[in-house]
């Protein structure tokens, strides 16, 4: 059978942003064949051309985007150059990243029927298809719901159902889970896996969800510099950890751990799932009887816990918030945030995280109770005044960006504070340098790529030098490198003794950076403590729909072999594992330790190259050998 998707020597360049500029190719010689029933994950950095490739699969590139298009894309035998987008829609369904801008009807069943109506299908058959498509995404009961009132995950499933109803053979999805919470992400991935298994659909999904790809995708295609850099089953592609990191894409945490352990112990470790890692390490642990070794004494709390200061940076006292429509978003929430804390604010979508965060800089006023920022009551202080104390990076950088150039964008905050010109200029120069934005200083920020727009938004906030920084899901849609660069800046801000409040669903970030975790559920504080405490409370994690980072899950399972169950980062794990092996080698000096450590110890005490998690703990060596 010929492949469903056949891409031959595809070259594509968007029309240049400014007249006279040369068109820069985004895709530069892509050759790809995808067979029926394959679930292909498309990886690549932000701006690597994933979206463009998705758009090329249903003809939107070049029919809607313009630009230079060479080569051929053939879907089920139809060449996209010779078909219109609406005609290709019978063969290819395309789901976009933003659920809002693709839902066009107010009622779920109307939304799902819309494509069928455009294809002129008879009403009786549309009814059948709508029922089938909604059942396929698990939303059969949602037919009459208003599409405005769905959660993000539900909206994406409706968008998928809307495509399914047109009965395409190929389903293309452009980062459909980037803005969803873990529950929403899982639901979307499960639906896709089922479509492949039950209906033999061909699925191409651009994504940054490395951990989930391992579980769901059959094949991973990596875009690098406009070409296909790697292509193969997840096991194979993710074994190239070093290269993926060099390209800024990253790898699943267990693959990174494998590489780190290989470096530290000299013994090859290759795994990409927690189960594989567990079996591999357990085999070795059993062979070496690590369970018979004396367990290491439990460490003192490893994360720097800040001492309650005389005056908290931000004091939230028994606040409730009721929106004008009567929805109760917060119920009796109390929280004291001390200077220098790194607070992770967690919880499912709709649990009140953003509502709470907006109270911390006065954008929202409590219905009852009070919020004091550095001693000032937010009810009586102007938002503009509070903005000098608290910087707030919104989920969508585009909401904060408006100036004609990057430079002016960054200067806006300091200028609002009426600082002298020289100081404004100095701050702008610093920010441009720190965020690597110097080449773009005079460009309009709106024309930059998504990752860079996010950097500009953060640069503009940090240039105002607030004492507290609030980040609302800042890493959604960012690739591994952009995420690292972003978090490096945030960590740098934190080491200056300033306070960070991070709203996130990414438990790896919580594990690696936060000193305190606050979990909200249905507007109430469900948990408030250290990340370690949180990770040892399965009932809290369950209730809030949070999952342990893979490395912590692995550590838990290896508890019997003397690995501390409260390990949070790769570096800690590698150190703990190394310590076990060293302890064992010391106990049995006569046996061949070569098999244990591979090489004499002096060569492998620390990983070479870029350390994967730059947690403070590793520097302090608390889990170290």
């Amino acid at each position: 059978m010929p492949p469903d998707i056949h891409i031959h020597n595809l070259f594509y360049a968007y029309p240049p942003l400014r007249e006279g500029d040369e068109a820069v190719p985004v895709l530069n010689g892509i050759n790809l064949q995808i067979a029926r029933g394959e679930f292909v994950a498309l990886l690549g950095r932000v701006g690597a051309g994933k979206t463009t490739l998705c758009l090329a699969l249903n003809g939107l590139a070049p029919h809607a985007t313009g630009g230079v298009f060479r080569g051929d894309v053939t879907i089920l035998g139809q060449n996209t150059k010779r078909c219109t987008v609406p005609d290709l829609a019978r063969s290819v369904g395309l789901v976009f990243q933003d659920p809002e801008s693709q839902i066009v009807q107010m009622r779920v069943e109307d939304e799902v029927a819309f494509g069928c109506e455009n294809l002129g299908i008879a009403p009786a058959e549309i009814a059948e298809r709508v029922a089938w498509a909604l059942a396929a995404v698990g939303l059969s009961d949602y037919r009459e719901r208003s599409s405005l009132l769905l959660s993000g995950g539900e909206k994406q499933r409706v968008a998928i159902a809307a495509m399914l109803a047109m009965r395409p053979q190929v389903l293309v999805l452009d980062e459909p889970t980037a803005s969803l919470d873990p529950a929403g992400k899982s639901a979307v991935f499960r639906v896709l896996a089922e479509l492949r298994d039950r209906h033999e659909m061909t699925i191409v999904m651009a994504t940054q969800e490395l951990e989930r790809i391992v579980r769901f995708a059959d094949r991973v295609v990596v875009l690098h510099e406009g070409q296909i850099g790697l292509d193969g089953p997840p096991q194979e592609v993710f074994s190239q950890v070093a290269r993926l990191q060099e390209w800024g894409i990253g790898a699943p945490q267990m693959a990174e751990l494998g590489q780190l352990l290989t470096q530290r112990t000299g013994r090859p470790h290759r795994f990409i799932t927690v189960a594989d890692a567990y079996h591999d390490l357990r085999r070795q642990a059993r062979k070496l009887h690590l369970d018979r070794l004396r367990k290491p004494s439990p460490d003192a709390p490893s994360r720097r816990v800040s001492h309650p200061a005389d005056r908290p940076q931000i004091a939230v006292r028994a606040i409730s918030h009721v929106y004008p429509d009567g929805a109760v978003a917060l119920k009796n929430v109390s929280l004291e945030i001390s200077p220098g804390e790194f607070v992770a604010l967690l919880g499912p979508n709709g649990s009140g995280k953003t509502t709470l965060a907006k109270h911390l800089n006065g954008l929202l006023k409590p219905t009852t109770g009070s919020v004091c920022v550095e001693g000032r009551d937010t009810r009586t202080t102007r938002i503009a005044a509070l903005a000098r104390l608290v910087g707030y990076a919104f989920q969508n950088p585009d909401h904060q960006i408006f100036a004609p150039t990057v430079q002016e964008e960054i200067a806006f905050g300091p200028r609002m504070q009426e600082l002298p010109r020289a100081i404004v200029a100095q701050r702008v120069a610093e920010a441009l340098e720190r965020f690597r934005l110097i080449p773009y200083a005079d460009l309009p920020p709106a024309l930059l790529g998504f990752g860079q727009r996010r950097q500009v938004a953060l640069a503009a906030i940090i240039a105002a030098q607030p004492m507290t920084l609030i980040l609302d899901e800042p890493t959604g849609g960012l690739d591994w490198r952009s995420q690292q660069e972003f978090m490096e800046v945030v960590a740098g801000f934190h080491t200056l003794g300033r306070t960070v409040v991070l709203i996130t669903h990414d438990m790896r970030l919580v594990a690696e950076y936060a000193t305190r975790a606050v979990v909200l559920l249905a507007g109430e504080v469900l948990f408030d403590g250290t990340p370690q405490d949180l990770f040892s409370r399965p009932e809290v994690l369950d209730q809030a729909g949070l999952a342990l980072p893979p490395v912590t899950r692995l550590a838990r399972r290896l508890d019997k072999y003397g690995i501390a169950a409260d390990i949070l980062t790769l570096a800690q794990f590698a150190a703990a594992w190394h310590a076990r092996l060293t302890a064992r080698a010391r106990r049995k000096p006569n046996r061949s330790t070569g098999g244990v450590l591979g090489r004499p110890r002096r060569e492998a005490p620390r990983p070479k190259g870029r350390v994967l998690s730059r947690s403070k703990d590793e520097a302090q060596g608390q889990h170290g050998a």
Partner: protein, 258 residues
Amino acid sequence: MAPNFDLYLRRDTAIHRLDPRVKLAFVVDATLLTFLWPSIGTAATMIGVCVVGFWRARIPAAHVTRIFRLVAPLMVMVFALTAIFGQGTGEVWIAVGPLAVTANSLTRGALLALRLLALATIAFLWLFTTDQATMVRGFVALGLPYEWGLTLALALRYLPLFAALFEQVRDAQQARGLDLEQQSFRGRLQAYRPVLIALMISALRNSEHLGWALEARALGAQGVRRSTFRPLHLRPNDVIALAILGAAFCAGIALRVL
């Protein structure tokens, strides 16, 4: 929180189930009748009919009182202005210079105010019981080109999103120190500029994606006659309602002319 532009209240009542064209006929019919009879009685009756309608459609009292609150300032204004400047004949109650409040101008003021309220209740009875998609389908069934209908539906769909976007952008800019709580109107207008620019950029991005999404859903497929998933059919109840509306209208005309 986005302000709620969707006035539709999902219920399963006879009024909700009526064909949108019948409800549109009611709006036209009731409006014409209200204007045909320049009497307080007609306006009051119409309001009464609508209130019964609200009750039968199980619209909560809070929603109904919201209409009154919305229209009340306008009613007071219309009443006061007509009463003072109406210059009607009849017994003069108060006279200040050339201005005189007469019994006649008072009645006319009351009539206009009540008519206003009648019109508002008629319109809201329609809006509360007809969802936007159905409303648009009704228009299209009555001959509005489909593209216009879709545009209208999209406008209605994106109004709340646009409002939410505006709020988000405003919040985001305020969080950066933009002072929108200024006193002077000009100052505030000036301050809102960054908000509007960011809003435009975001809206343009959204609209580009919306265009793509519509094409990806086969809108404008060549050689295809668009079908309708939930075609409108006049059911017995609709026919009865239409007959009643027709009879009421004819009776109104007849009584007025004869």
